[in-house]
Symmetry: none
Subunit: 455 residues, 2 copies
């Protein structure tokens, strides 16, 4: 009864697992910030060394950017092969001011581990290393073949992983992929995520004169890049939240009836949701519920605005330049390249006179949708029930994990999205957290999954 | 023939005047920066001492902020009294990097004196002291009564001058005020400015959730403060540059036919103007020329935008808060308080669902418009022609000099705005300059003005 030994090992090593995770989190592996490139490498080495220490031969794969960690343990001939994907890089911690404890000093408050990367994705990714450790330190071998693919450029959308996967299809060949980089539906309601949104991310720069101008002397006679930027951005949506780019919805695959019905039955408390966010009301596209809006409808959101003077008091400058970061969450079957083309045509049409603009494409990935009625999904369901004490619900997620599409197109397999996090974990925001109870439940579910997939 | 002696004195003392101006400019009297408060006082003392040395009894008037310099020479009974206003404080020199010579080390290049305060307003204000000096050192008395009111808080918009003027109406009683803090129409085309725009300046803050959110998890289901801010700002103007706030134009006094005709005849080279600014085209309200747009039409300009992420690479944050600085240049007869009320009503109507906002009023001043066909204006015109060799054109300016309104309401007199500067003097910017030829022409014109006003 290998699984009992495994469970006992997990119970006995909770403190060790937490300390190891904290050590990984303390490395500020912010992939977007060049000043942290040494730290990113240190995090990769940490993951590689941890894999080696638990009995999985592993190496760093160099790329033009941050390294990929690859490890494999293939000692279950005739059994399925599982590819476990995760990422060791994290989002920038800024703004720093709202953090209650330093972003790279993991701090436990009320059973939650607070730190950048706690849930996204160091904590969730690490559950699979610890599950494998428990098998190898007790039974001595794994019930299935396991390949670990842990990258360092997930948060910057680099092309290096894509290149690596497409050039190493045989090496990475597998029967199913597993990723823990999503959330449960709610505390105590674990979930398997069968769909994700895609992303098309842009920077938009608007320029006017060749120097900053005085608004008294020139105001009214020359276009103002800040006003122009606002005008261009405002043109992207109507007052009902519907995107106004011609052709934008052409490829949107409608929700299936069974999905809308199933989601309507999920225990979603809209009042609590609103209260938790502290907003005065919810707002989104007409004709869709909150879950539908956040899981299965495309968006257009601005992520940053800059230009001119933001210090104290009045300054009457007409700045020469203004900028914005904005993105579209995409749904099946939208193509990020086509969305970029449609956006370009739209901006060309709406750009006001007197300014020029530049649109920089920063990231693009299609949405993902996988089958829900498969042997692997049933195995995952059983494993989750064994750990959490309740079977998972099937949901979609609003975020993007581009590697799901990559794995499908390059390796031909679907991905099990097994999220151990919670919706309010503040991934990408200040005070990111991961519930330590979920961390350990995730490890146990992962350990059971290896057994279930072997059947 | 007193005026000939005066002219001869001016010719003979050019070098001395320039050295004195340089000494005044070397005092970094930046009124906005507390670290320079001693320097601000030194500049006040310099002006007081210079007035005393030329024969005008003068003192410092203490205020809760920086002192006012007041001096008077009332030895022309039965003749008009002229109030000369100016300011000895300067804008901060930052950003320092673009300066070709240190901002407080006056440096002559190609006949221009480069330094912070060279034109705004030390150099222009100083012309009137040197004109009075010439009269007193030659004729021994002034042809009219002269009162000097030189403040140290013009660049910070303090209330201390307003308090002082309103409490000392009898002391400051005069027949006309003179201010040199504007520009000529162009090199070789001196001007009398008979109108200025007012200003209503605001900060607008928009808030959504109580924390930054992940756009994957929440995008589409909650309002985004950045999108909302852009939407609110874009709603302020239509595509033709016309302000969309209900009632905004109600009080706008239309341009007179004679003004439009006169301005159309001014030697304004739109192609050169556009080229100098480096814009791809000019843009403003339809139905108005560039001069009309910048002198006599109200504006709505954004001066700063902030919120979210502006670092390198993509970050998919829905920030909790966004902000903007924006202002309206006002024209006669708009009231800044009424504009603030109209703006409030507009924002209330257009604020999208799901966000809240706060509007902070940061500054307000009405426009100014003075009569052009008055004895004083005719006197100024003759004085300028005597110095520059050509009569001035009558123009308006796009900026704001709130003291013009103060003098009108408190002392009941119009102001002669006699600008010796040029449009490209970079006041408030790096490499501020003042043409030394204009400095001496301004002194001579001021000296002749005293004679003309006595007639």
């Amino acid at each position: 009864m290998g699984i009992d030994q495994v469970d006992n090992y997990l119970d006995a090593h909770r403190a060790q697992f937490e300390e190891e995770l904290k050590a990984l989190i303390r490395i500020p592996s912010v992939s977007a910030q060049p000043t942290h490139s040494d730290d990113v490498r240190k995090a990769a080495e940490f993951v590689r060394d941890n894999l080696r220490s638990i009995g999985v031969p592993a190496d760093l794969i160099e790329t033009p950017g941050h390294p990929i960690v690859y490890g494999e343990r293939l000692d279950a001939p005739g059994k399925p092969t599982v590819l476990i994907y995760g990422h060791y890089d994290v989002q920038p911690p800024e703004p720093l001011e709202p953090w209650l404890s330093p972003p790279f000093e993991p701090t436990i408050r009320e059973g939650n581990l607070f730190a950048r990367g706690a849930t996204d994705d160091k904590g969730q990714m690490f559950t699979h290393l610890k599950a494998v450790e428990a098998w190898l330190k007790t039974v001595g071998q794994l019930p299935v073949n396991v390949k670990f693919l842990i990258e360092g450029e997930e948060e910057v959308g680099g092309a290096n992983l894509e290149n690596y996967v497409s050039l190493n299809k045989a090496k990475l060949a597998c029967d199913v992929a597993v990723i823990s980089d999503t959330s449960q539906f709610a505390p105590g309601i674990p979930a398997i995520t069968y769909g994700l949104r895609g992303l098309a991310y842009f920077e938009l720069l608007v320029e006017g004169a060749n120097i900053d101008l005085h608004s008294g002397t020139y105001g009214g006679a020359v276009a103002n890049p800040l006003n122009a930027l606002c005008q261009m951005i405002a043109s992207l949506k109507d007052g009902d939240g519907r995107i106004q780019i011609a052709g934008f919805y052409d490829d949107v695959r409608p929700l299936e009836d069974w999905e809308r019905q199933a989601w309507a039955k999920l225990p979603f408390d809209e009042a609590m949701y609103q209260k938790g966010l502290g907003v005065i009301g919810l707002f989104g596209e007409k004709g869709f519920s909150t879950l539908e809006r956040s899981w299965a409808r495309p968006t257009c959101d601005v992520h940053g605005l800059w230009g001119g003077y933001s210090g104290p008091g009045p300054k009457t400058v007409l700045p020469r330049k203004a900028g914005a970061k904005l993105s579209f969450r995409l749904v099946p079957n939208q193509d990020p390249k086509r969305v970029a083309e449609l956006l370009k045509a739209h901006l060309k049409a709406v750009c006001p006179p007197g300014v020029t603009y530049e649109l920089i494409e920063q990231h693009g990935a299609p949405a993902a949708l996988v089958e829900v009625d498969t042997p692997a999904a049933r195995a995952a369901s059983k494993a989750i029930e064994a750990s959490f004490g309740t079977p998972p619900v099937f949901m979609r997620g609003g975020g993007s994990i581009p590697v799901v599409g990559l794995i499908k197109t390059q390796l031909g397999v679907d991905t099990l999205l097994l999220g151990w996090g919670q919706e309010d974990d503040n991934l990408h925001g200040p005070n990111e957290k991961f519930c330590l109870a979920d961390f350990h439940l995730g490890i146990k579910a992962s350990a059971h999954l290896l057994a279930e997939l072997a059947r």
